[in-house]
Symmetry: C2
Subunit: 125 residues, 2 copies
DNA sequence: TATAGCCGGTCACAAATTTATACCAGCCTT
DNA sequence: AAGGCTGGTATAAATTTGTGACCGGCTATA
């Protein structure tokens, strides 16, 4: 892949490839909603595999969006919460989520139409 | 992967997995900025591979966010632009892009700190 | 007392996705 | 005649993602 002509695109790309994947977005949404969540609570809530949750949380922690607190109780607890940087990510993420929920029907309709047209095309050919 | 306990997460996940990947976001940002762009202009602008641009544009077209106009001139031209649905996606995407540009330094700093701590940890162990 | 389960992970492996590379046909410039 | 531009596609390699088993330490159930 060549370098982008547009340097901003490179930088946006860079940060989106870090925190822009859908698991990260969903983790941030969930933490924003509940404040604090434990590992397995997140896992059940999102329907994510242990491995991906583990990786996603470590990356989010590394990027400073999420804090990890280990409680050496019995049984041990690990709590995850948003940092101030993570909180600042809530706004754009919320906007994205709302748009997603609002326009999902329109997208589904567009998809169906496109697929129907493609199908008709195929029969013509 | 199990079903999510949270049905909203499932639906947000669904739509984000369609239009939430970073190439789609960057294409929308670019089209929002320039209005109309040709295939190779987008390619050079974003630094994306031909294949991924081709796939991304076809998905965006299928989901009704982008329109594709073929001009059978010599040499042939293919122009891409945002549809009204795509236009409505500008706002949340712009918020995301701005957040990305604004907080990239903070993320880089958090990363550096995390990595330094991990490095120190390793030496201790 | 065995057996099973929750806790927060990790490990090895398989499957899916992304990327790089080469190629296509048609026309234009050098 | 050689190479470049147009908008792509085909193939293969590299990377990312997901699956299932396993870990030690504890507890509740039968």
């Amino acid at each position: 892949m060549a370098e982008p002509q547009c340097p901003e695109c490179g930088r946006i790309n860079e940060v989106l490839s870090r925190v822009g994947d859908r698991w990260s977005v969903l983790v941030v949404i969930s933490l924003a909603q509940y404040g604090v969540l434990r590992f397995n609570a997140l896992k059940r809530h999102l329907g994510i595999s242990q491995r991906m949750l583990s990786l996603t949380l470590r990356e989010l922690e590394r990027d400073g969006l999420v804090s990890r607190t280990y409680h050496p109780t019995i049984p041990p607890k690990v709590e995850y919460a948003l940092t101030p940087l993570g909180e600042s990510f809530r706004e754009p993420v919320k906007a994205l989520g709302l748009w997603a929920l609002e326009h999902l029907p329109a997208i589904d309709a567009a998809r169906a139409e496109y697929d129907a047209a493609a199908e008709a095309e195929k029969k013509t050919a």
